[in-house]
Amino acid sequence: MKIKSLTIIGLLFFVSYSMNAQNNVVVEKVRQKLATVNDYVAEGVMKTDVSFIKASLGKVKVYYKKPNLIKVKKDGGISLLPKGGVSITMNSLLNTDQYIAIASGKQVYNGKNLEVYKLVPTDDQLEWVISTLWIDPVESLVYKTFTTTKENGSFEITMEYGAYANYGLPSKIIFGFNTKDYKLPNGITLEFGDEAPISKEKAKKNKKGTIEITYSKYTINKGVSNTNF
């Protein structure tokens, strides 16, 4: 009886280990794909969609260097970026081995059969707490992530791929984040008058914001100076 129980437990461990190993293969493939990129400079157009901000589209350049240096610069102007969200990209998540990947099922997302993995950091010093990845196992591409950070809340990042899919680099990336209320006293803005109160619907929408970057060109592995960060 004891031998039988031990055998079953051992078998369960083996199945679990094999599954995990199999799951990690998918994440590992993504990691390997991203690891081919040492640095890049990407040009694109950024759109800011936060309900309390009126901003036009702006040309941006995104600089990346391994392992986790990233900087978004607007072409001569003021840029608005989610606090802490931009630094947590696919490259910065997977370029270290300091995580455990746990398979969390499958999902159909935008017509694609994706596998869902939860990444848990093994290093306490990392700024993220947990991240969920929606991965296409065939293309080894991540289409969506949801990351919870220690200090800057949660971020949802969705990606679309095009010409640079071979490198695992998206053609479009959307950062979704929670926003806090914005209000300045009229005494400071000197705006006295008949302002309409914000509707409940708009106030609800106030809590969500997105920043969308559509990339037109990547210059990959040509070297990026540290002065850009």
Binding site: D49, V50, K54, I78, P82, T179, L184, T189, E191, D194
Partner: protein
């Protein structure tokens, strides 16, 4: 007509109080610019407290365009008081000195004299505004440089691209000229009613303060009269700095959110100018000059 306008301009030029307004504006702007140059980052951080909770704002927020907006917000409320110092003295000052009778015995009609005085006072007002623009806009651009205008309003933020800002200031200053000319015309009207200098100046300033308070109080009873008060419309130069957005919340470069509001305000202010000056002419034509 031009010769009597020149005479009136010469009188304004020779009056010491003319330069009080220029000096006061220069001093105020200089103090604010210095304050913001030295400790502007702390001021910007205070304004952006709510935004910084969520977003990282990268770029030169405290640039010349924002400084100019801050200055105009503060000064365009008070410049009318400085305009009143000259405009409200144009007719009553002459009456006080006893020279009004002398003027009206010249070959020029009373209407011509009143119009000449109003045009001279208007030129003074416009010069004051140009002085304000030169210091608030161009000097700020020189000291702080230029970048996108990151404008923090009470309930939302407007980010206007650098190349889309300057024309808005041109529009705002043209609009402000209508606002200040309305004050000039009001001062002129008060001036036509009195025979001393102090009374019309105090009356003009009091009227501006009184109507400004009515315009800013959000009480339903006052809301009925607000659209007809010139003080309600004087601050609408700010409309040049609000921008339309698409359904996707993309700001439309080169657009103005509420252009109709600007047009309406310009119309109301123009009507006030015509009414005030017209009333001044009528009063002066019928006035029995005894001083």
């Amino acid at each position: 007509m031009w010769s009597i306008i020149q005479i009136e301009l010469y009188k304004i030029y020779k009056r010491p109080r003319t330069y009080i307004a220029f000096g006061a504006i220069a001093a105020l702007i200089w103090v604010i610019q210095m304050g913001l140059k030295i400790d502007g980052e702390a001021y910007a951080a205070f304004l952006m407290k709510d935004i910084n909770n969520t977003l990282i704002v990268d770029g030169k927020v405290l640039n010349g365009y924002l400084i100019c907006y801050i200055l105009l917000q503060l000064l365009l409320v008070h410049v009318p008081l400085l305009v009143a110092l000259i405009a409200a003295d144009m007719l009553s000052g002459e009456a006080n000195l006893g020279t009004l009778r002398l003027l009206f015995t010249t070959p020029y009609s009373r209407t011509q004299w009143v119009l000449a005085k109003f045009i001279a006072a208007s030129i003074y007002t416009i010069l004051l505004l140009i002085w304000l623009a030169a210091l608030a806009l161009f000097l700020s651009m020189y000291i702080f440089g230029t970048d996108d205008l990151f404008l923090m309003k009470s309930n939302y933020v407007v980010l206007i691209e650098t190349q889309d800002v300057f024309w808005r200031y041109v529009g705002a200053f043209v609009f402000a000229s209508f606002s200040l000319l309305t004050v000039t015309a009001l001062g002129f009207l008060m001036s036509s009613l009195a025979n001393n200098s102090i009374g019309p100046i105090v009356a003009t300033i009091s009227a501006i303060v009184f109507f400004t308070i009515l315009s800013t109080l959000n009480i339903p009873l006052f809301n009925l009269v607000k659209p007809y008060l010139f003080t309600t419309h004087m601050n609408n130069w700010k409309e040049f700095f609000d921008i339309q957005v698409t359904e996707n919340n993309e700001a439309i470069t080169g657009s103005i959110l509420n252009i109709q509001k600007i047009k309406t305000s310009l119309l109301v202010l123009s009507i006030h100018i015509v009414l005030f000056v017209g009333a001044s002419i009528l009063i002066m034509k019928k006035k029995d000059v005894l001083s």
